[in-house]
Amino acid sequence: MKLLLNLLKTPMFVIGTTIFFGTVLVALFAPMMYHVDIIARVGMPYMPPGKEHLLGTNHLGVDMMSLLIKGLGSSLYVGFLAGMIATVTGTLLGIYGGFKGGWQDDFITLITNLFLVIPTFVVLILISSSLKEGRSLALIAGIIGATAWTWSARAVRAQSASIKSRDHIALARVNGEGTLKIVVKQILPYLFSYVFMVFIMQTASGILSEACISMIGLGPYDTVSLGTILNEAMRNEALGDGAWWAFIPPMILITIIVFALNFINTSMEGVFNPRLRK
């Protein structure tokens, strides 16, 4: 509670969360207020922003505002899902390895290190290019999550190993608490803020990864994400034709989200990390 209060007193955190939840709210509620249609053609290609179309149209004459709202939703969804997958997998493995120790820990560390040295973005490209048909948002998120869990595992493992040496774990044992209860009561609360930070970073990097693979044309089919908007704009010469509205807004959105998440993360680090807190 006190931590939360401290967080709320950190301007960086407040700014970050405000911006981030702002984007989430837009993604959730804008479709109710704005007629979002990413199918219908409403005008000529690359119509500049104007009264009818606040952000102009894309190369197929589709309303950019609609595309952005829909794309924002997709990107956040992919980010959340990828972050969730990476964080949950990484945390479970990290806690298990860090708390259990022994050969299980060695094995998990080995696997993690192995995955860490593999260039994940290349793997990402290979997997998504081998899936010729039916790349859904969830699948893309799954692929990103599956390549990104390693550094959460590593980070969480280190943390849980250091918490393991704290004396209250020993006290809990002599209080007769079982392993599960110790993990839940004595370790998880300490990791929670950390895991949450990892989750936020994983979400941010998930959004970026999605944008990156969409940028090179390996993004999801049948839907619109901020990355695919950028990709379409790039392929259809928005840049050369001066149609800035086709690529600047999605770029700004991605930057804003990632910066907001970074803000949140940095501010939380300041509050949660005792050494920095001093």
Partner: protein, 608 residues
């Protein structure tokens, strides 16, 4: 940490975008080492991969040897798509009888080593195809049966002159197709007998051995330019100041550019940027919204829509052997479901005039065969209601999700109809957009089709064996005297019909299976008869008949009219390119077909 590197990636991306856009605004001429800009013409769009060989007898020689480029090796005649006339080059324009087509050789034609270019070279070039099945000229012997040479006396004002007359006999037994023979005269580039015969002897008389030679060191050519050097980045040609045509055809004038450089770009937008920066003078690639580039000095044939002269029809080829595409109703419903106006305005930047149903272009030389009444009666146009009605009538039920998205389609038996996909090369942005719009329309009309963008190599390998549901294609893109017959032939001919999995060079949709009960022999009859017709009324009648069958059966879905080749030029360094107002040559890149003559007419901006 990882997120930081990704952030950097974004920042770098943003910066590089900014840099590119800045560069585009910066005018100026870029001079390459040793090639004075005012004497160098940059053209691009023909060579995409690394240049391997310049051997005119190999299968895929690099620019400007393969294809219909007239810079190094020349054909007998060229076709001017603007006038519809065949113009002379190594020979004068052909004369046609019922069984022969003949041309008279230009007596002034010379090889670059000074030897005269004679009928012997022509005969040699064609007869290589008779001797070797692997030669590029092998196919011509399906269409001609013999070549003979006579000497005729030409008595013009300047006095009497002995000329060689080459007579091509139409192969009545095999294909009996004078139209293709006409095409052949401008398709086959003549090679020097004296040098190649020697090389062939050195190669032990084996063509395969000869084909291994690269011909990249001062080859013997007849054209106005010769190869200077090449790399993976560009091909450089240098003007031949002793080109025979300067005297014979151009009043002793030289082509303006001393050098022609073909830079090798990898992606469509590079061409656009290079044109706008003035680093490229002519391009043959799709550049969207060309009117926006006018301020950078980029222009094309017309100043307003459709900008280009329509000459070809990109279409969705349909595999008619696969269910449910084997059902004519489904094909017709698809044709009704496509929003052709959106394709015209969005996908091809308005470069296409409004499309009419059928396989005949309602313009230029083909306009005669196009019949408005027939199209009114049998043709299709964008009408989603009609599309739905056809599907319903044919017993199909489309099942939609709550949010209005098509889920699947059931047939009359209640079985789920397989989802169809449209194969198209990934990254070809104009085609991608056409496919997107077509698919959008079909899905809205309750037809279960999806986009299937694939790697270009996969696309090319799937095409001849028919491994597709629908395939984005542009059959016979070149403008030739045989149009529109060759287009019908490419889409509908069952002459070599083979089942899916085996190669077919035409009709890859496997339309009109000769062994099926629905076989319509009239199609092949008409395709066989039209080339031999000389009477215009007869021809019109035959074409009308063929077009009606096409419109009824819809073996393919034409989407738009596009030019033979995109032709964009930049006036930053060179001016006086052929345009609508200044139509001294057809809208072709200055290396191609009848467009080559513009090389003598363009003017360097610096020299003005």
């Amino acid at each position: 940490m990882k997120h930081l590197s990704l952030l950097k990636f974004m920042v770098i991306g943003a910066l590089s975008c900014g840099i590119i856009s800045c560069q585009q605004k910066k005018p100026g001429t870029v001079t390459e080492e040793g090639f004075p800009r005012e004497k160098t013409l940059y053209l691009a769009g023909f060579q995409w991969g690394d240049p391997n060989t310049f051997n005119p007898l190999s299968d895929w020689p690099a620019f400007p040897v393969g294809g219909k480029y007239n810079l190094m090796y020349e054909p007998l005649v060229v076709f001017n798509s603007i006038t519809g006339k065949i113009e002379g080059l190594l020979a004068d324009s052909p004369e046609r009888t019922d069984s022969t087509i003949s041309v008279k050789m230009n007596p002034m034609a010379r090889w670059s080593d000074g030897k005269p270019l004679t009928s012997a070279d022509v005969k040699f070039t064609f007869e290589i195809g008779k001797r070797f099945k692997g030669a590029p000229t092998a196919y011509v012997w399906d269409f001609i049966s013999d070549i003979t040479v006579d000497t005729v006396v030409d008595s013009s004002a300047s006095g009497e002159m002995k000329l060689e007359k080459i007579v091509f006999f139409i192969n009545k037994k095999e294909r009996n197709n004078p139209l293709v023979v006409m095409d052949i005269l401008q398709n086959i580039r003549i090679v020097p007998r004296h040098s190649i015969e020697a090389l062939l002897a050195e190669a032990g008389g084996e063509l395969a051995e000869l084909q291994k030679l690269k011909f990249d060191k001062d080859p013997v050519v007849s054209g106005p330019y010769n190869l200077l050097r090449y790399s993976n980045e560009k091909i450089v040609l240098k003007r031949r100041d002793d080109y025979w045509g300067c005297m014979a055809l151009y009043n002793n004038r030289l082509p303006q550019p001393v050098y022609i450089i073909h830079p090798i770009y990898k992606s469509n937008d590079h061409f656009s940027i290079a044109l706008q920066q003035g680093n490229l003078d002519i391009s043959a690639t799709f550049i969207p919204r060309i009117w926006l580039k006018a301020k950078e000095g980029v222009a094309t044939w017309y100043k307003k829509e459709p900008f280009f002269i329509p000459a070809t029809i990109p279409m969705l080829q349909i595999n008619t052997t696969r269910y449910p595409l084997s059902d004519r109703n489904v094909r017709r419903a698809m044709a009704y479901a496509i929003n052709y106006k959106d394709i015209r305005e969005l996908a091809v930047s308005g470069y296409s005039p409004p499309i009419l149903s059928g396989l005949i272009l309602p313009f230029g030389v083909e306009a005669d065969y196009c019949n408005a009444e027939d199209i009114q009666k049998y043709g299709v146009s964008y009408d989603p209601e009609k599309a739905r009605a056809i599907m319903k009538e044919a017993g199909y039920t489309s099942v939609f999700d709550a949010d209005g998205k098509l889920n699947h389609v059931k047939n009359a038996k209640g079985e789920k109809v397989p989802t169809m996909s449209v194969k198209s090369p990934a990254g070809w942005s104009d085609w991608e957009s056409m496919v997107q719009i077509a698919v959008k329309g079909m899905r809205a009309a309750g037809i279960d089709v999806r986009e299937g963008f694939v790697d270009a190599s996969l696309y090319w390998s799937c095409m001849p064996v028919g491994d597709f549901d629908l395939l984005m294609q542009k059959p016979v893109p070149e403008v030739t005297p045989s149009k529109p017959w060759s287009r019908f032939d490419a889409v509908m001919s069952s002459r070599n019909w083979k089942p899916e999995g085996e190669k077919m060079n035409e009709n890859q949709g496997r339309y009109n299976n000769p062994s099926s009960k629905d076989y319509n022999p009239e199609v092949d009859n008409l395709l066989k008869r039209i080339p031999t017709l000389t009477d215009n009324e007869e021809k019109i009648k035959a074409y009308r008949q063929l077009n009606i069958i096409f419109m009824q059966d819809m073996p393919a879905l034409p989407l738009a009219y596009l030019p033979e080749q995109f032709y964009e030029f930049s006036t930053r360094n060179w001016i006086n390119f052929p345009t609508e107002e200044n139509s001294y040559a057809p809208p072709q890149c200055l290396c191609y077909g009848a467009g080559t003559k513009a090389l003598w007419e363009i003017k360097s901006v610096a020299a003005e």
